[in-house]
Protein backbone atom coordinates (compact mmCIF):
# COMPACT_ATOMS: atom_id res chain seq x y z
CA UNK A 1 0.00 0.00 0.00
CA UNK A 2 2.84 2.31 0.71
CA UNK A 3 4.29 2.07 -2.74
CA UNK A 4 3.55 5.19 -4.73
CA UNK A 5 2.37 3.51 -7.87
CA UNK A 6 2.34 6.76 -9.76
CA UNK A 7 6.04 7.09 -9.33
CA UNK A 8 6.95 6.06 -12.85
CA UNK A 9 10.28 4.43 -13.57
CA UNK A 10 12.82 6.89 -14.78
CA UNK A 11 12.89 7.40 -18.53
CA UNK A 12 15.22 4.97 -20.26
CA UNK A 13 17.56 7.61 -21.66
CA UNK A 14 18.62 8.77 -18.19
CA UNK A 15 19.80 5.26 -17.27
CA UNK A 16 23.49 5.06 -18.14
CA UNK A 17 23.94 1.55 -19.58
CA UNK A 18 21.41 -1.21 -19.18
CA UNK A 19 22.88 -4.40 -17.73
CA UNK A 20 23.56 -7.15 -20.24
CA UNK A 21 20.48 -9.35 -20.62
CA UNK A 22 20.89 -13.02 -19.68
CA UNK A 23 21.13 -15.38 -22.65
CA UNK A 24 20.79 -18.97 -21.56
CA UNK A 25 19.84 -22.19 -23.33
CA UNK A 26 16.18 -22.77 -22.43
CA UNK A 27 15.14 -26.02 -20.73
CA UNK A 28 13.99 -28.61 -23.28
CA UNK A 29 10.49 -29.87 -22.49
CA UNK A 30 10.54 -33.25 -24.24
CA UNK A 31 7.37 -34.32 -22.41
CA UNK A 32 5.43 -31.61 -24.23
CA UNK A 33 6.43 -32.94 -27.66
CA UNK A 34 5.60 -36.53 -26.73
CA UNK A 35 2.21 -35.70 -25.22
CA UNK A 36 1.44 -33.42 -28.18
CA UNK A 37 2.12 -36.21 -30.65
CA UNK A 38 -0.03 -38.66 -28.66
CA UNK A 39 -2.91 -36.21 -28.46
CA UNK A 40 -2.85 -35.54 -32.20
CA UNK A 41 -2.67 -39.29 -32.94
CA UNK A 42 -5.72 -40.00 -30.76
CA UNK A 43 -7.63 -37.18 -32.42
CA UNK A 44 -6.78 -38.51 -35.89
CA UNK A 45 -7.93 -42.00 -34.87
CA UNK A 46 -11.24 -40.69 -33.59
CA UNK A 47 -11.85 -38.66 -36.75
CA UNK A 48 -10.96 -41.67 -38.88
CA UNK A 49 -13.37 -43.88 -36.94
CA UNK A 50 -16.21 -41.42 -37.43
CA UNK A 51 -15.47 -40.94 -41.13
CA UNK A 52 -15.65 -44.71 -41.65
CA UNK A 53 -18.94 -45.02 -39.78
CA UNK A 54 -22.27 -45.51 -41.53
CA UNK A 55 -23.00 -41.81 -41.38
CA UNK A 56 -23.96 -39.80 -44.42
CA UNK A 57 -21.83 -36.74 -43.63
CA UNK A 58 -22.92 -35.04 -46.80
CA UNK A 59 -26.39 -34.55 -45.37
CA UNK A 60 -25.10 -32.18 -42.70
CA UNK A 61 -23.90 -29.35 -44.95
CA UNK A 62 -27.07 -29.83 -47.03
CA UNK A 63 -29.23 -28.96 -44.09
CA UNK A 64 -26.88 -26.78 -42.05
CA UNK A 65 -28.37 -23.52 -43.28
CA UNK A 66 -31.78 -24.96 -44.07
CA UNK A 67 -34.56 -22.48 -43.32
CA UNK A 68 -36.15 -24.81 -40.78
CA UNK A 69 -32.85 -25.32 -38.96
CA UNK A 70 -32.15 -21.60 -38.86
CA UNK A 71 -35.67 -21.08 -37.56
CA UNK A 72 -34.99 -23.63 -34.83
CA UNK A 73 -31.72 -21.92 -33.96
CA UNK A 74 -33.57 -18.62 -33.73
CA UNK A 75 -36.21 -20.08 -31.44
CA UNK A 76 -33.57 -21.73 -29.26
CA UNK A 77 -31.79 -18.40 -28.95
CA UNK A 78 -35.00 -16.50 -28.27
CA UNK A 79 -36.02 -18.96 -25.59
CA UNK A 80 -32.55 -18.92 -24.02
CA UNK A 81 -32.39 -15.15 -23.88
CA UNK A 82 -35.93 -14.62 -22.60
CA UNK A 83 -35.80 -17.43 -20.04
CA UNK A 84 -32.42 -16.20 -18.81
CA UNK A 85 -33.70 -12.64 -18.61
CA UNK A 86 -36.64 -13.83 -16.57
CA UNK A 87 -34.30 -15.91 -14.42
CA UNK A 88 -31.89 -13.05 -13.76
CA UNK A 89 -34.52 -10.42 -12.97
CA UNK A 90 -36.54 -12.74 -10.76
CA UNK A 91 -33.34 -14.16 -9.27
CA UNK A 92 -32.09 -10.72 -8.21
CA UNK A 93 -35.47 -9.94 -6.68
CA UNK A 94 -35.57 -13.30 -4.87
CA UNK A 95 -32.02 -12.92 -3.51
CA UNK A 96 -32.77 -9.44 -2.21
CA UNK A 97 -35.98 -10.77 -0.64
CA UNK A 98 -34.06 -13.67 0.88
CA UNK A 99 -31.53 -11.34 2.51
CA UNK A 100 -34.17 -8.85 3.61
CA UNK A 101 -34.89 -8.24 7.29
CA UNK A 102 -38.58 -8.70 6.52
CA UNK A 103 -39.45 -12.24 7.65
CA UNK A 104 -42.38 -12.52 5.21
CA UNK A 105 -40.39 -11.76 2.06
CA UNK A 106 -37.43 -13.88 3.11
CA UNK A 107 -39.72 -16.85 3.83
CA UNK A 108 -41.46 -16.49 0.49
CA UNK A 109 -38.11 -16.45 -1.25
CA UNK A 110 -36.90 -19.46 0.72
CA UNK A 111 -40.04 -21.39 -0.18
CA UNK A 112 -39.78 -20.49 -3.85
CA UNK A 113 -36.18 -21.65 -4.07
CA UNK A 114 -36.97 -24.79 -2.09
CA UNK A 115 -39.74 -25.73 -4.51
CA UNK A 116 -38.25 -24.82 -7.88
CA UNK A 117 -34.81 -26.14 -7.09
CA UNK A 118 -36.20 -29.28 -5.55
CA UNK A 119 -38.09 -30.57 -8.58
CA UNK A 120 -36.65 -31.46 -12.00
CA UNK A 121 -37.08 -28.82 -14.67
CA UNK A 122 -38.44 -31.47 -17.04
CA UNK A 123 -41.22 -32.28 -14.60
CA UNK A 124 -41.93 -28.56 -14.13
CA UNK A 125 -42.28 -28.14 -17.90
CA UNK A 126 -44.79 -30.97 -18.07
CA UNK A 127 -46.72 -29.60 -15.11
CA UNK A 128 -47.06 -26.16 -16.72
CA UNK A 129 -48.32 -27.88 -19.82
CA UNK A 130 -50.97 -29.77 -17.86
CA UNK A 131 -52.02 -27.03 -15.48
CA UNK A 132 -55.25 -26.79 -17.42
CA UNK A 133 -56.45 -29.64 -15.20
CA UNK A 134 -56.42 -27.25 -12.25
CA UNK A 135 -57.25 -23.96 -13.92
CA UNK A 136 -59.74 -24.42 -16.69
CA UNK A 137 -59.81 -20.74 -17.58
CA UNK A 138 -57.46 -17.87 -17.23
CA UNK A 139 -59.48 -14.84 -16.24
CA UNK A 140 -57.92 -11.43 -15.82
CA UNK A 141 -61.28 -9.70 -15.50
CA UNK A 142 -62.05 -7.41 -18.40
CA UNK A 143 -58.50 -7.54 -19.80
CA UNK A 144 -58.18 -11.15 -20.83
CA UNK A 145 -60.14 -14.36 -20.59
CA UNK A 146 -59.45 -17.63 -22.33
CA UNK A 147 -59.18 -21.37 -21.88
CA UNK A 148 -55.98 -22.30 -20.12
CA UNK A 149 -55.11 -24.75 -22.89
CA UNK A 150 -55.24 -22.10 -25.59
CA UNK A 151 -53.54 -19.50 -23.39
CA UNK A 152 -50.64 -21.81 -22.54
CA UNK A 153 -48.95 -21.99 -25.91
CA UNK A 154 -45.89 -24.24 -26.21
CA UNK A 155 -43.74 -21.11 -26.20
CA UNK A 156 -45.25 -19.72 -23.01
CA UNK A 157 -45.02 -23.12 -21.33
CA UNK A 158 -41.37 -23.42 -22.27
CA UNK A 159 -40.58 -19.86 -21.18
CA UNK A 160 -42.32 -20.15 -17.81
CA UNK A 161 -40.96 -23.60 -17.14
CA UNK A 162 -37.36 -22.68 -17.88
CA UNK A 163 -37.46 -19.09 -16.57
CA UNK A 164 -39.06 -19.82 -13.21
CA UNK A 165 -36.73 -22.75 -12.62
CA UNK A 166 -33.72 -20.66 -13.55
CA UNK A 167 -34.80 -17.91 -11.15
CA UNK A 168 -34.29 -20.28 -8.22
CA UNK A 169 -30.71 -20.98 -9.25
CA UNK A 170 -29.98 -17.36 -10.11
CA UNK A 171 -31.33 -16.33 -6.71
CA UNK A 172 -28.68 -18.42 -5.00
CA UNK A 173 -25.95 -17.10 -7.31
CA UNK A 174 -27.01 -13.52 -6.65
CA UNK A 175 -27.22 -14.15 -2.92
CA UNK A 176 -23.63 -15.38 -2.94
CA UNK A 177 -22.66 -12.25 -4.88
CA UNK A 178 -24.43 -9.87 -2.51
CA UNK A 179 -22.88 -11.58 0.52
CA UNK A 180 -19.43 -11.31 -1.05
CA UNK A 181 -19.48 -7.51 -0.88
CA UNK A 182 -17.70 -6.17 2.19
CA UNK A 183 -20.03 -4.94 4.91
CA UNK A 184 -17.99 -1.75 5.14
CA UNK A 185 -19.42 -0.77 1.76
CA UNK A 186 -22.97 -0.87 3.07
CA UNK A 187 -21.94 1.04 6.19
CA UNK A 188 -20.13 3.73 4.21
CA UNK A 189 -23.11 4.17 1.94
CA UNK A 190 -25.59 4.28 4.82
CA UNK A 191 -23.38 6.71 6.71
CA UNK A 192 -23.71 9.03 3.69
CA UNK A 193 -27.48 8.91 4.10
CA UNK A 194 -28.22 6.57 1.21
CA UNK A 195 -31.38 4.47 1.48
CA UNK A 196 -31.38 0.67 1.45
CA UNK A 197 -32.49 0.65 -2.18
CA UNK A 198 -29.87 3.15 -3.31
CA UNK A 199 -27.18 1.30 -1.38
CA UNK A 200 -28.15 -1.95 -3.03
CA UNK A 201 -28.51 -0.57 -6.53
CA UNK A 202 -25.57 1.83 -6.63
CA UNK A 203 -23.03 0.25 -4.31
CA UNK A 204 -23.64 -3.43 -3.54
CA UNK A 205 -25.00 -4.88 -6.79
CA UNK A 206 -22.31 -3.40 -9.08
CA UNK A 207 -19.66 -4.98 -6.85
CA UNK A 208 -21.58 -8.23 -6.52
CA UNK A 209 -21.62 -8.49 -10.32
CA UNK A 210 -17.99 -9.57 -10.33
CA UNK A 211 -18.98 -12.66 -8.39
CA UNK A 212 -22.32 -13.09 -10.15
CA UNK A 213 -21.22 -12.91 -13.80
CA UNK A 214 -18.99 -16.02 -14.11
CA UNK A 215 -21.54 -18.52 -12.72
CA UNK A 216 -24.27 -16.71 -14.67
CA UNK A 217 -22.33 -17.32 -17.87
CA UNK A 218 -22.34 -20.93 -16.87
CA UNK A 219 -26.11 -20.75 -16.40
CA UNK A 220 -26.60 -19.19 -19.85
CA UNK A 221 -24.72 -22.02 -21.48
CA UNK A 222 -26.64 -24.53 -19.42
CA UNK A 223 -29.90 -22.85 -20.36
CA UNK A 224 -29.03 -22.95 -24.04
CA UNK A 225 -28.64 -26.69 -23.81
CA UNK A 226 -31.61 -27.21 -21.49
CA UNK A 227 -33.89 -25.62 -24.07
CA UNK A 228 -33.55 -28.92 -25.91
CA UNK A 229 -35.88 -30.38 -23.24
CA UNK A 230 -38.80 -28.26 -24.35
CA UNK A 231 -39.37 -30.40 -27.41
CA UNK A 232 -41.38 -32.31 -24.78
CA UNK A 233 -43.97 -29.51 -24.76
CA UNK A 234 -44.18 -29.27 -28.56
CA UNK A 235 -42.05 -26.15 -28.96
CA UNK A 236 -40.08 -26.48 -32.19
CA UNK A 237 -36.61 -25.38 -31.15
CA UNK A 238 -33.34 -26.56 -32.67
CA UNK A 239 -33.32 -30.18 -31.46
CA UNK A 240 -36.97 -30.75 -32.31
CA UNK A 241 -36.51 -29.32 -35.81
CA UNK A 242 -33.41 -31.44 -36.33
CA UNK A 243 -35.28 -34.55 -35.24
CA UNK A 244 -38.22 -33.73 -37.52
CA UNK A 245 -35.93 -33.26 -40.50
CA UNK A 246 -34.12 -36.45 -39.54
CA UNK A 247 -37.31 -38.44 -39.63
CA UNK A 248 -38.54 -37.15 -42.97
CA UNK A 249 -35.17 -37.22 -44.70
CA UNK A 250 -34.00 -40.49 -43.23
CA UNK A 251 -30.82 -38.94 -41.86
CA UNK A 252 -31.75 -39.09 -38.17
CA UNK A 253 -28.24 -39.49 -36.70
CA UNK A 254 -26.77 -36.92 -39.09
CA UNK A 255 -29.27 -34.31 -37.93
CA UNK A 256 -28.24 -34.94 -34.32
CA UNK A 257 -24.64 -34.18 -35.26
CA UNK A 258 -25.90 -31.06 -36.99
CA UNK A 259 -27.75 -29.95 -33.85
CA UNK A 260 -24.67 -30.64 -31.73
CA UNK A 261 -22.56 -28.47 -34.04
CA UNK A 262 -25.04 -25.62 -33.78
CA UNK A 263 -25.16 -25.86 -29.98
CA UNK A 264 -21.39 -25.77 -29.89
CA UNK A 265 -21.28 -22.67 -32.09
CA UNK A 266 -23.84 -20.87 -29.93
CA UNK A 267 -22.15 -21.71 -26.63
CA UNK A 268 -18.84 -20.50 -28.07
CA UNK A 269 -20.38 -17.17 -29.00
CA UNK A 270 -21.85 -16.83 -25.49
CA UNK A 271 -18.49 -17.61 -23.89
CA UNK A 272 -16.86 -14.76 -25.78
CA UNK A 273 -19.61 -12.41 -24.64
CA UNK A 274 -19.08 -13.56 -21.05
CA UNK A 275 -15.38 -12.73 -21.24
CA UNK A 276 -16.07 -9.11 -22.16
CA UNK A 277 -18.79 -8.78 -19.54
CA UNK A 278 -16.41 -10.02 -16.83
CA UNK A 279 -13.81 -7.59 -18.05
CA UNK A 280 -16.28 -4.73 -17.76
CA UNK A 281 -17.16 -5.52 -14.16
CA UNK A 282 -13.50 -5.97 -13.19
CA UNK A 283 -12.89 -2.25 -13.61
CA UNK A 284 -11.57 -0.66 -10.47
CA UNK A 285 -10.96 -4.00 -8.79
CA UNK A 286 -7.53 -4.59 -10.22
CA UNK A 287 -4.92 -2.15 -11.37
CA UNK A 288 -4.94 -3.30 -14.96
CA UNK A 289 -7.65 -5.14 -16.88
CA UNK A 290 -6.90 -8.64 -18.23
CA UNK A 291 -5.96 -8.53 -21.92
CA UNK A 292 -8.58 -9.42 -24.51
CA UNK A 293 -7.83 -12.53 -26.61
CA UNK A 294 -6.93 -10.23 -29.50
CA UNK A 295 -4.46 -8.32 -27.32
CA UNK A 296 -3.02 -11.66 -26.16
CA UNK A 297 -2.54 -12.82 -29.75
CA UNK A 298 -0.88 -9.53 -30.64
CA UNK A 299 1.43 -9.77 -27.61
CA UNK A 300 2.34 -13.37 -28.42
CA UNK A 301 3.08 -12.62 -32.05
CA UNK A 302 5.13 -9.63 -30.99
CA UNK A 303 7.17 -11.59 -28.47
CA UNK A 304 7.65 -14.43 -30.98
CA UNK A 305 8.96 -12.09 -33.64
CA UNK A 306 11.20 -10.44 -31.05
CA UNK A 307 12.54 -13.80 -30.01
CA UNK A 308 13.25 -14.94 -33.56
CA UNK A 309 14.73 -11.53 -34.30
CA UNK A 310 17.00 -11.85 -31.26
CA UNK A 311 17.91 -15.40 -32.26
CA UNK A 312 18.84 -14.30 -35.76
CA UNK A 313 21.02 -11.55 -34.36
CA UNK A 314 22.76 -14.00 -32.05
Amino acid sequence: MSVDINNKAEPADSVPAPPEAIRAVPVKHYGRYVSGVIAVAVLVLIIYAFSQGKVNWGAIPDFFFDGRVLGGVGKTLLLTVLAMLMGVVLGVVLSVMRLSKNPVTSSISWFYIWFFRGTPVYVQLLVWFNLGLVFEYINLGPIYKDYWSSFMTPFLTALLGLGLNEAAYMAEICRAGLLSVDEGQTEASQALGMSHGKTLWRIVIPQAMRVIVPPTGNEVINMLKTTSLVSAVQYSELLRVAQDIGQTSGAAAEMLFLAAAWYLILTTVFSVGQFYLERYYARGSSRSLPPTPWQKVKANVLSLSNRSGGGAAA
Binding site: A191, L192, G193, M194
Partner: protein, 253 residues
Protein backbone atom coordinates in the same frame (compact mmCIF):
# COMPACT_ATOMS: atom_id res chain seq x y z
CA UNK B 1 -25.91 26.58 23.01
CA UNK B 2 -27.12 23.01 22.50
CA UNK B 3 -24.44 20.37 22.54
CA UNK B 4 -23.67 18.84 19.13
CA UNK B 5 -23.62 15.40 20.72
CA UNK B 6 -24.92 14.51 24.14
CA UNK B 7 -24.82 11.07 25.68
CA UNK B 8 -26.68 10.15 28.85
CA UNK B 9 -26.00 6.72 30.31
CA UNK B 10 -25.52 5.07 26.92
CA UNK B 11 -25.42 1.28 27.12
CA UNK B 12 -24.73 -1.11 24.29
CA UNK B 13 -24.33 -4.85 24.35
CA UNK B 14 -23.75 -7.44 21.65
CA UNK B 15 -25.57 -10.49 22.94
CA UNK B 16 -24.25 -11.13 26.42
CA UNK B 17 -21.21 -8.90 25.98
CA UNK B 18 -21.62 -5.43 27.41
CA UNK B 19 -19.56 -3.04 25.32
CA UNK B 20 -20.77 0.31 26.62
CA UNK B 21 -21.70 0.50 30.31
CA UNK B 22 -23.15 3.95 30.72
CA UNK B 23 -21.41 6.67 28.76
CA UNK B 24 -22.09 10.29 29.65
CA UNK B 25 -20.46 13.02 27.66
CA UNK B 26 -21.09 16.22 25.77
CA UNK B 27 -19.50 17.53 22.60
CA UNK B 28 -19.84 21.26 21.95
CA UNK B 29 -20.19 22.68 18.42
CA UNK B 30 -16.87 23.47 16.67
CA UNK B 31 -15.09 21.24 19.13
CA UNK B 32 -12.49 18.59 18.27
CA UNK B 33 -13.35 15.79 20.64
CA UNK B 34 -10.88 12.90 20.97
CA UNK B 35 -11.76 9.42 22.16
CA UNK B 36 -8.79 7.35 23.26
CA UNK B 37 -8.40 4.05 25.02
CA UNK B 38 -7.26 0.48 24.54
CA UNK B 39 -8.84 -1.62 21.81
CA UNK B 40 -12.08 -3.21 22.94
CA UNK B 41 -12.83 -0.31 25.22
CA UNK B 42 -15.92 0.59 23.19
CA UNK B 43 -14.79 3.85 21.56
CA UNK B 44 -15.54 2.75 18.00
CA UNK B 45 -18.85 1.27 19.07
CA UNK B 46 -19.81 4.54 20.71
CA UNK B 47 -18.89 6.41 17.55
CA UNK B 48 -21.05 4.08 15.47
CA UNK B 49 -23.98 4.65 17.82
CA UNK B 50 -23.88 8.37 17.06
CA UNK B 51 -25.04 7.85 13.46
CA UNK B 52 -27.15 4.84 14.43
CA UNK B 53 -25.03 2.22 12.69
CA UNK B 54 -25.45 0.51 16.07
CA UNK B 55 -28.59 0.68 18.18
CA UNK B 56 -28.11 1.55 21.82
CA UNK B 57 -29.80 -0.61 24.45
CA UNK B 58 -30.28 1.96 27.18
CA UNK B 59 -29.76 5.64 27.88
CA UNK B 60 -30.25 8.58 25.56
CA UNK B 61 -28.11 9.88 22.73
CA UNK B 62 -28.74 13.26 21.13
CA UNK B 63 -27.24 14.86 18.04
CA UNK B 64 -27.88 18.59 17.74
CA UNK B 65 -30.62 18.30 20.33
CA UNK B 66 -32.46 15.49 18.53
CA UNK B 67 -32.71 11.92 19.77
CA UNK B 68 -30.71 9.43 17.68
CA UNK B 69 -32.82 6.66 16.12
CA UNK B 70 -36.02 7.42 18.04
CA UNK B 71 -38.79 9.94 18.39
CA UNK B 72 -40.20 10.73 21.79
CA UNK B 73 -43.87 11.44 22.41
CA UNK B 74 -44.63 11.92 26.08
CA UNK B 75 -42.68 9.21 27.83
CA UNK B 76 -42.91 6.77 24.91
CA UNK B 77 -40.15 6.14 22.38
CA UNK B 78 -40.95 5.35 18.77
CA UNK B 79 -38.38 3.81 16.47
CA UNK B 80 -37.58 5.93 13.43
CA UNK B 81 -38.13 4.52 9.97
CA UNK B 82 -35.05 3.68 7.91
CA UNK B 83 -35.74 6.67 5.67
CA UNK B 84 -35.87 9.01 8.67
CA UNK B 85 -32.60 7.61 10.00
CA UNK B 86 -31.05 8.10 6.56
CA UNK B 87 -32.23 11.71 6.53
CA UNK B 88 -30.38 12.39 9.80
CA UNK B 89 -27.24 10.63 8.64
CA UNK B 90 -26.88 13.16 5.82
CA UNK B 91 -25.67 15.68 8.37
CA UNK B 92 -23.11 13.36 9.96
CA UNK B 93 -19.98 12.51 8.00
CA UNK B 94 -18.09 9.36 8.86
CA UNK B 95 -14.55 8.29 8.06
CA UNK B 96 -13.65 4.64 8.57
CA UNK B 97 -10.46 2.92 9.60
CA UNK B 98 -10.53 0.82 6.41
CA UNK B 99 -11.54 3.80 4.17
CA UNK B 100 -14.47 1.88 2.61
CA UNK B 101 -14.25 3.80 -0.64
CA UNK B 102 -16.48 2.44 -3.39
CA UNK B 103 -13.97 0.44 -5.47
CA UNK B 104 -16.00 0.52 -8.69
CA UNK B 105 -16.00 4.31 -8.83
CA UNK B 106 -13.19 6.78 -9.41
CA UNK B 107 -12.14 9.18 -6.66
CA UNK B 108 -14.28 11.90 -8.21
CA UNK B 109 -17.30 9.61 -8.56
CA UNK B 110 -16.89 8.54 -4.94
CA UNK B 111 -17.14 12.13 -3.81
CA UNK B 112 -20.03 12.96 -6.18
CA UNK B 113 -22.10 9.88 -5.36
CA UNK B 114 -23.96 10.98 -2.23
CA UNK B 115 -24.80 14.56 -3.29
CA UNK B 116 -26.18 13.30 -6.61
CA UNK B 117 -27.99 10.23 -5.28
CA UNK B 118 -29.12 11.47 -1.89
CA UNK B 119 -29.52 15.23 -2.28
CA UNK B 120 -30.51 14.98 -5.96
CA UNK B 121 -27.97 17.64 -6.73
CA UNK B 122 -27.25 18.42 -10.40
CA UNK B 123 -24.23 16.47 -11.66
CA UNK B 124 -22.41 19.60 -12.77
CA UNK B 125 -22.74 21.24 -9.36
CA UNK B 126 -21.75 18.03 -7.58
CA UNK B 127 -18.77 17.62 -9.88
CA UNK B 128 -17.61 21.17 -9.23
CA UNK B 129 -17.83 20.68 -5.46
CA UNK B 130 -16.12 17.28 -5.68
CA UNK B 131 -13.25 18.79 -7.63
CA UNK B 132 -12.95 21.56 -5.06
CA UNK B 133 -12.93 19.05 -2.21
CA UNK B 134 -10.35 16.82 -3.86
CA UNK B 135 -8.23 19.89 -4.34
CA UNK B 136 -8.66 20.72 -0.68
CA UNK B 137 -7.33 17.30 0.39
CA UNK B 138 -4.50 17.68 -2.12
CA UNK B 139 -5.66 15.11 -4.65
CA UNK B 140 -6.96 17.12 -7.59
CA UNK B 141 -4.61 15.18 -9.89
CA UNK B 142 -6.04 11.82 -8.73
CA UNK B 143 -9.69 12.54 -9.53
CA UNK B 144 -9.87 9.93 -12.29
CA UNK B 145 -8.10 7.17 -10.34
CA UNK B 146 -9.87 4.17 -8.90
CA UNK B 147 -9.27 3.49 -5.18
CA UNK B 148 -7.08 0.48 -6.00
CA UNK B 149 -4.75 2.88 -7.81
CA UNK B 150 -4.32 5.08 -4.73
CA UNK B 151 -2.16 4.65 -1.64
CA UNK B 152 -3.83 4.19 1.72
CA UNK B 153 -3.24 7.79 2.71
CA UNK B 154 -4.69 9.02 -0.58
CA UNK B 155 -7.71 6.73 -0.18
CA UNK B 156 -8.37 8.06 3.29
CA UNK B 157 -8.20 11.65 2.07
CA UNK B 158 -10.70 10.82 -0.69
CA UNK B 159 -12.89 9.27 2.01
CA UNK B 160 -12.75 12.52 3.98
CA UNK B 161 -13.66 14.50 0.85
CA UNK B 162 -16.53 12.08 0.24
CA UNK B 163 -17.90 12.70 3.73
CA UNK B 164 -17.46 16.47 3.38
CA UNK B 165 -19.39 16.51 0.10
CA UNK B 166 -22.63 16.14 2.07
CA UNK B 167 -21.72 19.32 4.00
CA UNK B 168 -22.13 17.67 7.41
CA UNK B 169 -22.36 19.55 10.66
CA UNK B 170 -20.51 16.77 12.47
CA UNK B 171 -17.66 14.52 11.39
CA UNK B 172 -16.91 11.15 12.97
CA UNK B 173 -13.43 9.68 12.52
CA UNK B 174 -13.00 6.01 13.43
CA UNK B 175 -9.25 5.48 13.81
CA UNK B 176 -8.64 7.20 10.47
CA UNK B 177 -4.88 6.61 10.48
CA UNK B 178 -4.64 3.17 12.10
CA UNK B 179 -4.55 1.29 8.79
CA UNK B 180 -1.90 3.56 7.29
CA UNK B 181 1.83 3.24 6.97
CA UNK B 182 3.53 5.65 9.40
CA UNK B 183 4.84 7.90 6.63
CA UNK B 184 1.33 8.41 5.20
CA UNK B 185 -0.31 9.34 8.50
CA UNK B 186 0.89 12.94 8.31
CA UNK B 187 -1.03 13.81 5.13
CA UNK B 188 -4.31 12.62 6.61
CA UNK B 189 -3.71 14.42 9.91
CA UNK B 190 -2.93 17.60 7.97
CA UNK B 191 -6.32 17.44 6.29
CA UNK B 192 -8.00 16.87 9.66
CA UNK B 193 -6.08 19.76 11.21
CA UNK B 194 -7.27 21.97 8.36
CA UNK B 195 -10.86 20.87 8.98
CA UNK B 196 -10.55 21.61 12.69
CA UNK B 197 -9.19 25.07 11.95
CA UNK B 198 -12.27 25.62 9.78
CA UNK B 199 -14.49 25.06 12.79
CA UNK B 200 -15.86 21.61 11.95
CA UNK B 201 -17.20 19.67 14.90
CA UNK B 202 -15.19 16.46 14.99
CA UNK B 203 -15.24 13.34 17.12
CA UNK B 204 -12.02 11.45 16.60
CA UNK B 205 -11.25 7.95 17.82
CA UNK B 206 -7.49 7.85 17.60
CA UNK B 207 -4.20 6.53 18.86
CA UNK B 208 -2.38 9.64 17.61
CA UNK B 209 -1.70 11.30 20.95
CA UNK B 210 0.34 14.04 19.29
CA UNK B 211 -2.66 15.01 17.16
CA UNK B 212 -5.00 14.86 20.16
CA UNK B 213 -2.74 17.08 22.22
CA UNK B 214 -2.20 19.60 19.45
CA UNK B 215 -5.65 19.83 17.83
CA UNK B 216 -8.05 18.41 20.42
CA UNK B 217 -10.27 20.64 22.53
CA UNK B 218 -11.50 17.83 24.74
CA UNK B 219 -10.41 14.27 25.34
CA UNK B 220 -12.05 11.26 26.90
CA UNK B 221 -10.17 8.17 28.00
CA UNK B 222 -12.35 5.08 27.83
CA UNK B 223 -11.71 1.63 29.16
CA UNK B 224 -13.97 -1.40 29.39
CA UNK B 225 -17.07 0.49 28.27
CA UNK B 226 -16.87 3.40 30.69
CA UNK B 227 -15.37 6.90 30.63
CA UNK B 228 -12.40 6.74 32.99
CA UNK B 229 -11.20 10.28 32.67
CA UNK B 230 -12.00 13.36 30.65
CA UNK B 231 -10.81 16.91 30.27
CA UNK B 232 -8.55 18.98 28.13
CA UNK B 233 -6.09 16.80 26.20
CA UNK B 234 -3.17 18.69 27.71
CA UNK B 235 -4.35 17.76 31.20
CA UNK B 236 -5.44 14.18 30.59
CA UNK B 237 -2.38 13.30 28.56
CA UNK B 238 0.02 15.39 30.61
CA UNK B 239 -1.19 14.74 34.16
CA UNK B 240 -3.46 11.68 34.13
CA UNK B 241 -5.08 11.16 37.49
CA UNK B 242 -6.21 7.54 37.12
CA UNK B 243 -3.96 4.50 37.26
CA UNK B 244 -5.54 2.98 34.17
CA UNK B 245 -4.98 6.12 32.16
CA UNK B 246 -1.38 6.27 33.32
CA UNK B 247 -0.82 2.61 32.44
CA UNK B 248 -2.30 3.08 28.97
CA UNK B 249 -0.44 6.27 28.20
CA UNK B 250 2.86 4.83 29.33
CA UNK B 251 2.44 2.23 26.58
CA UNK B 252 1.39 4.48 23.72
CA UNK B 253 3.32 7.70 24.32
Amino acid sequence: MTAMVKAEGVHKSFGAVQVLKGIDLEVAPREVFCLVGPSGSGKSTFLRCINHLEKINAGRLYVDGELVGYRQHGDKLYELRDSEVALKRRDIGMVFQRFNLFPHMTALENVMEAPVQVKKEARSAARARAERLLDRVGLSDKAGNYPSQLSGGQQQRVAIARALAMEPKLMLFDEPTSALDPELVGDVLDVMRDLAADGMTMIVVTHEMGFAREVGDALVFMDDGVVVESGHPRDVLGRPSHERTKAFLSKVL
